[in-house]
Symmetry: C2
Subunit: 233 residues, 2 copies
């Protein structure tokens, strides 16, 4: 069956969250913490990402968006790094760091190419406003915003993958889930979606990133331009 | 408070549903019904639009999208006009007529102007794929697709207006609901949204259309370009 739509993981796959969060942390927290390791700050915050979503996935609490979860986990990140005295308005501004991330360099042009043949939408754990801010900042030409906001849950819950196909009125295999994370692709494949892995060897800075899929995928690409080549765009 | 996002009714406000449906009916049904009044066909189909949604609004049935409702109401439209023998594949193609509507002439350029200052999204009773097809056909630069697909209900239920503000992380009054229908704007205002009426005197062909609002609105405009002027774009 032919691919008709591409849906994207965003944090790590389309945008470089670590550099962007570190940049904003250096700007906002640096003056208060002269010895700040901004990359470690970004890593520590990201480490709290999965556990914070788990309470929503499990049904323990109703859906709240990622801004809310990031705001809730921030005090623990600061305390864990021994940083004190960050005012509420600065903490709120730090949460906005996630709205100010830069795309990996090849992404905007590759999406423009892919858009000539496919519908494009994020299926991210970020909500509508977060995706819209990233799309506007980086010129990402999405047709729609799907994912956590649309499905009121977090990946890898089935709704996010199923809703993505249903929103476009397509069979699951007509939808290609594109991600730099094998676990996301494994979940998408369980719900019948086609899958494409994008290598992001620098996602975690010195700690690396996935250089290739650890699960069976439909396509494995070195970056998004390579995927556009492989799909004939 | 300042307006940050514009959300749009689509059928009648941004696109000319009557001419488009009539054009497709003439093409697909005309050969079977030489005396077809294609405009009356479009009107008869649109007349079934509100009652079909009411069963979802009332909770009598779970959410189904507008393609499903249009497909269900089509046999009654055909029978009511004395048209027989329309094959299933032609009926399915007729449902696609709603995906092939043309924007009112000033709309694409006006949206490009409005996009320079505001977030833009449809809040229509049409679902994601329907909105995406209309956006692609007409070059409508939406940031996100909200409305029935996002809220799994139909206007004027409160969720559609409330979810529109929440999706953008805005206060209701920061969101301007734009519609050619006073009842839609009255509902939006009840939930705190700002409102703009667009005159569409030809929406219903010879039966006219709203030339101005019958309720109090924030802005009343002669068309979308006039609204862009009034908003300083």
């Amino acid at each position: 069956m032919t691919i008709r739509a591409l849906v994207f993981d965003v944090f790590g796959t389309l945008v470089d969250w670590r550099s962007g969060v570190a940049r904003e942390a250096a700007r906002l927290v640096g003056p208060l913490a002269p010895n700040l390791d901004a990359g470690a700050f970004a890593d520590a915050w990201r480490d709290r990402y999965q556990p914070s979503m788990e309470r929503v996935r499990s049904g323990e609490r109703p859906f709240v968006d990622l801004d809310t979860l990031q705001a809730e986990s921030l005090p623990g990140v600061l305390a864990g790094l021994g940083i004190e005295g960050v005012a509420a308005d600065v903490r709120a501004e730090l949460v906005q760091a996630w709205h100010r991330l830069d795309a990996w360099p090849e992404v905007p042009d590759a999406l423009v190419r892919l858009r000539t043949r496919f519908f494009l939408a994020p299926v991210s754990n970020g909500h509508v406003r977060l995706m819209v801010d990233l799309a506007r900042r980086n010129g990402l030409p999405f047709d729609a915003i799907l994912g956590a906001g649309y499905s009121r849950d977090y990946k890898p819950k089935p709704a996010l993958y199923r809703d993505a196909a249903a929103a476009f009125g397509l069979a699951p295999e007509e939808v290609l889930m594109v991600a730099a994370h094998s676990n996301d692709l494994a979940a998408a494949a369980r719900h019948g979606l086609s899958t494409a892995h994008i290598a992001r060897p620098h996602e975690h800075g010195p700690a690396g990133g996935e250089t290739g899929p650890s699960v069976l995928v439909t396509h494995a690409a070195s970056d998004l331009a390579d995927l556009a080549d492989r799909l004939g765009c």
